[in-house]
């Protein structure tokens, strides 16, 4: 039992860190420019496809990851310059509609280019096996993901909390007009943030590719989770995104693994087996509704 809990806790940490990569870009786009980007999940999907296709062509996971991330960043730049600049000053409804349209286009374009069957992406050979930690075996590749996630989180923290650009980003999230009035080029800043967010999406998609299937529609479910994360954490706050992502990752993974067993202890077996999975899958939404009810601005609001 302890081993199961420990293993699931590591899985939860891994899932939470990947969610953080997605949520970090989303929360900045949201926070600074007040722009809803439903197509963020599509960038994740397109990124995973880029990585998988490049890795197959080059026969190397690492090369594929590099090319895929760079390609998605380029696509992000193109989208920001042509479309998103038009959307910042529009109302939320227009942003929802335009980015919903982007989802439709992205899904169909991917289906047109790579076909409806999922793409295979193999992890690097050196990391294919399990490693032993503290008496039990855990896949080496998942440990790598945890390591990457922690490294990116640390990098983002340094960038946002300590660097000058990070200060501008925080200022932009707190009050855009005043930041502009102080002579910061918020427009260029935002292009950079958007491109950076797109690259993080591709990184998450590429890293998760060997664990999940690279397929059409993979972006939508994860997009909703990323939204839950940034709502819980508070829109515009990187710290909130990290805390929210870790909470959501842990609650979701542990809930799915342990809730049916825990319910079985207090309820009759058949009731527990039907209620357990249902409750586990809505747990994070209940959490989000609860947090919004008591703290409508999230845990770490960027606009105080």
């Amino acid at each position: 039992m302890t081993q199961l809990v420990l293993e699931q806790a590591l899985n939860g940490l891994q899932f939470g860190l990947m969610l953080f990569l997605l949520a970090a870009g989303l929360t900045l786009v949201f926070g600074i420019m007040d722009c809803i980007n439903l197509a963020h999940g599509s960038l994740y999907m397109v990124g995973a496809y880029f990585v998988a296709a490049a890795a197959q062509a080059a026969d190397s996971f690492w090369l594929g990851l590099g090319v895929g991330v760079a390609g998605t960043a380029g696509l992000g730049l193109l989208l920001e310059l042509t479309l998103f600049r038009q959307l910042y000053r529009r109302d939320h409804l227009s942003q929802v509609l335009a980015t919903f349209a982007l989802i439709l286009i992205a899904n169909e374009a991917v289906r047109l280019i790579w076909g409806p069957a999922p793409l295979m992406l193999n992890p690097p050979d050196a990391l294919a096996g399990p490693v032993e930690i503290g008496g039990f075996f855990y896949p080496a590749y998942r440990l790598l993901i945890i390591g990457c996630g922690l490294a990116v989180a640390a990098l983002l923290y340094l960038l946002v909390a300590k660097s000058r650009v990070g200060m501008w980003v925080r200022a932009g999230a707190a009050n855009r007009e005043i930041t502009e009035a102080l002579g910061i080029n918020v427009r260029a800043l935002f292009t950079a943030v958007f491109v950076f967010g797109a690259a993080l999406c591709a990184l998450a998609g590429g890293l998760l590719g060997p664990l999940l299937a690279v397929q059409v529609g993979m972006g939508e479910s994860v997009l909703i989770l990323a939204f839950v994360v940034i709502i819980i954490g508070g829109i515009g706050s990187i710290r909130g995104a990290l805390v929210g992502a870790l909470i959501v990752g842990a609650v979701d993974t542990l809930g799915r693994a342990l809730l049916p067993t825990l319910l079985g202890a207090v309820l009759p077996a058949d009731a527990a087996s039907t209620l357990g999975p249902a409750l586990a899958s809505i747990l994070i939404y209940l959490l989000m509704a609860g947090i919004l009810f008591f703290r409508p601005q999230g845990l770490f609001p960027a606009r105080a």
Binding site: I36, L83, V96, A98, I105, E220, I231, S281
Partner: protein, 315 residues
């Protein structure tokens, strides 16, 4: 946006359209194209669903991204009644409205405490909860959905025939449009629109803003439930895919294509979107690309939608 004012020719135009819609089944039979009756029925049902969202979104100013929940709940109420052996539509249809309306009341009571982006997201979260609940409820079919083998009875009339279902959907839509039209002009509709324009001022004038919004939200949910029950009867299945968040997105798209806050916006949008789907799907399997580009075009160049031609705002 100012108060809704229909164009002077809107009422006669709607009456003529209603007459044409009444004659449609006979015309289709005459030219031997009864296949299209199913499409027409789907258009009417989605017109009802989109109009109910338009009430919430266009008149109430509440951007809800969880409207599919109410549609799906209506569908599941119909299917669960069928499973329990209840076939009387005079009972099932109102029940679907009541259940969906009560759920909307609950969602609204919690969501309407938040504003803007947070409101969009919390309505989405509630819809996702309903989706996952039905996906994992194995007693109600889980992933596969719950089938309906025999359509409802309405009084002593059976809706088994396609024409009978068509007329039921037409009747429901006509009634809803009449109701919404009267509401928009009534004290309630004026108040709700005024709240959309300036919430603080209405609050200061002493209006119970929260309660007006909540009633509007619940009414929209109830009408979506009716549409869901009809839809499940037409397709013979209450499926979790009705509850997916992309379905909420599609309903939003319908309203925006048609025209947000114009009485017939939802109707026009549903007919245009489903018509486009039918037309484009026959020659291009990847029609979503075309639809996506079209939507982008609408957002960037014609943000008021098609039905903007059907009404004008008083400045």
């Amino acid at each position: 946006m100012a108060f809704y004012r229909p164009a002077s020719w809107q009422k006669p135009f709607a009456a003529v359209t209603l007459l044409a819609a009444l004659a449609l089944p006979q015309c289709l039979e005459f030219i031997d194209q009864s296949y299209y009756l199913g499409l027409a029925t789907r258009m009417l049902i989605f017109a009802l669903a989109a109009s109910s969202l338009n009430l919430v979104l266009g008149f109430g100013g509440m951007v809800s991204l969880g409207h599919a929940a109410f549609l799906g709940i209506g569908a599941y109420v119909a299917a669960i009644c069928h499973q329990a052996g209840i076939q009387q539509g005079l009972l099932v249809l109102p029940l679907a409205m009541v259940v969906a309306g009560l759920f909307a009341l609950l969602v609204g009571a919690i969501s309407l405490r938040t504003r803007g982006v947070y409101f969009i997201m919390i309505t989405l979260a509630f819809a996702q909860m309903v989706y996952y609940l039905f996906v994992s409820a194995s007693a109600w079919g889980g992933d596969d959905g719950l089938p309906i083998y025999e359509r409802l009875q309405l009084g002593s009339f059976s809706l088994v025939g396609d024409a009978a279902l068509y007329y039921t959907a037409l009747g429901a839509l006509a009634f809803a449009m009449f109701l919404f039209g009267r509401l928009a002009d009534a004290r309630f509709g004026r108040t709700v629109q005024a709240i959309r324009e300036n919430e603080t001022r209405m609050e200061a004038l002493g209006y119970p803003v929260f309660r007006y919004r909540l009633v509007c939200f619940a009414l929209g949910g109830a009408c979506a439930g009716l549409a869901g029950a009809l839809l499940a009867n037409q397709s013979g299945l209450a499926s979790p895919s009705l509850l997916q968040w992309t379905q909420s997105g599609t309903l939003l798209v319908m309203v925006i294509i048609g025209g947000v806050g114009y009485l017939y916006g939802g109707v026009v949008g549903a007919i245009v979107l489903l018509g486009l789907e039918e037309l484009l799907l026959s020659w291009f399997a990847h029609w979503h690309i075309v639809l996506g580009l079209l939507l982008l075009g609408i957002v960037l160049f014609a943000p008021k939608g098609v039905a903007a031609l059907f009404g004008r705002s008083r400045d």
